[in-house]
Point group: D3
Chain length 138, copies 6
């Protein structure tokens, strides 16, 4: 399938409202292609943007941390667009070349050990359950 | 398939040497099941431990950051053992309930938007390529 | 990691409000475990429920269609809880044994041909691009 | 690796027989690249076509429903060729822009909640098991 | 969802015919649960068995090789049943502990380097395309 | 994100040492792009090469077998670079067109039956556990 990218000029008022919130929130004067594609289904554009704004907004994890996690998932899922867009966002949030190298190393290593744990069907140690229980209660 | 978990008492000298390095490095007096399963293939045990020790060791990303990335990949790959073991490690490294909630939210959101970008086959914005290029050169 | 399931009795007002909307929307007097787990992070509970309510609500695709798509993705991602909960929802929406059998057959076949197309790195036929273009414009 | 696309003119009699059945079944006068690639291994071409013809043939789920499920799996697996070919087939079977938008929204949402259920390791509610049991018996 | 396992005694004639072919082909007097579950949709049972019989039957790759490939995919997809059933089949076909250890190591390593190649978005070397082209022509 | 490919001429001594070992080990006079990309993070380059050299080196499974397993995982994970590079390596190790066709058929079939076993949530037969136990002890 192919999709049109909906530009601001041709967008409906509800789509323009989302574009304007994206630009205002990010303090930039343009909207990236991801949103222009979602604009083919305005409800999805609006809902996804509002969710992303909340999830990536201020919290206990700083912006860089959240972008690195986003890249980690995108690499694991093989999403080129997301690696590119969130990789750029991570750069903007302060990711330097060493951090990038370590991020890739951890993501790759996790993908390797995930399969070893799955392949060897390793039973979870009781102490981990216990420790986690406790902590999650605190 | 089922696998034996190789305990220290029944382990070969080379396996014991790895177990001892794991305990010394982590300053604990026990070894978790993952390593006891890998011990069925000593070369894999040794190589994997040495790689993990290097990848998760001191660097630009702090230990908590690395554990959160590990959990993010493990959740995306649906590895229960790894969610449990690295979740416990993240707790130990300082992950509180809010961080855990945000981690899950970012991981889930990334899995959602990855599929939107893939499904709508969104072309990467030139500005992202550019920006990344530049940064990676710096 | 282990998580507490937050019961209504012990829930905060904001969590209770979501539980009540879930029960009212679904015309049932209980809340399933998925929501009791998300309640560990109230913002995620609220945002996820509101998104799900919108996405699975009235539209061009009927409820059964949407549940079958949900099960198809859940089987592909190997999510046992989701196969169980959306499988039950699909049953409630009218999925009979034949539909279930056909759903599984299509999901499995798609997973097979996906790998054949990926492995043989098949280039997309121009006619498909064309046809889709056109349609998405209509 | 690269693969030749086997054209009708250069195809063996057994490959031509499959191409002819594809064209006759679909009432078209051409064969798409997927089959031309599989023709590199005639047994796989024949077996895959016969399976697809049976799975996507008349049943309880209508053709549009089956194509939407096919696209849902292909988006989840990130198979560009399959998204393109089955997306075009879904269009042909009646998928309009609203249905496409809802399909993408459901697929993305399922990928998100799959990870929340996996990450929070939610135990399946007994009532779901029960309800499904019963139904599957009916 | 839950599914009944259809035993021979309660099976329809067409299901029994497949069970008998499975037992005759494998020279055993029982049928494993996978087939008893597929029997809930007889066409899928018959089609899947006939495909598997052809795919895993005599060819250029010996039975052990095919079972190892089956386990490699099953570990990557996190399919416990398939790891168990094809792991047992690989044992029967001659997989010893060393082969199993090497299989796991290769599967895990491939999962690691796959993510490094994806994350670093490495462009394919022309020489590989060339070399493959040539070979596929021979 | 975009990455530079580090050529030998511009590489640091530690990176050159790895490139030289790759060329010496493979008896070739060039290095493929995967390593030139990893060179952006020298530790990852060195660790990954040393692991790969050990994992793909002499053992119970011959080189062709290991390359086929590598391709099987790469196709399942949709890693184009890896399908191309290890596909070429498999050719070099002796994979002919029939073996390639059978490899693709087994990989695709495994991806199909993995989802059937997952979707139908098939319980593992006791005899498989037993048989595997026994063998793993031998």
């Amino acid at each position: 399938m192919s999709f049109q990218l909906i530009e601001y000029a041709e967008a409906s008022p509800e789509v323009r409202a989302v574009y304007e919130d994206i630009m205002a929130t990010r303090k930039i004067d343009w909207v990236n292609n991801f949103w222009k594609a979602l604009a083919n289904h305005p409800q999805t554009l609006k809902r996804t943007w509002e969710s992303l704004k909340e999830v990536m907004g201020p919290g206990q994890l700083d912006p860089l941390m959240k972008e690195l996690i986003y890249v980690a998932v995108s690499v694991t899922n093989n999403c080129n667009y997301c690696i590119g867009s969130h990789g750029a966002a991570a750069r903007k949030a302060g990711m330097d070349d060493s951090m990038l190298g370590e991020l890739m190393a951890v993501v790759a290593m996790a993908n390797e050990t995930n399969r070893l744990a799955i392949g060897y069907q390793v039973p979870l140690d009781d102490v981990f359950k216990g420790a986690a229980m406790e902590s999650s209660g605190s």
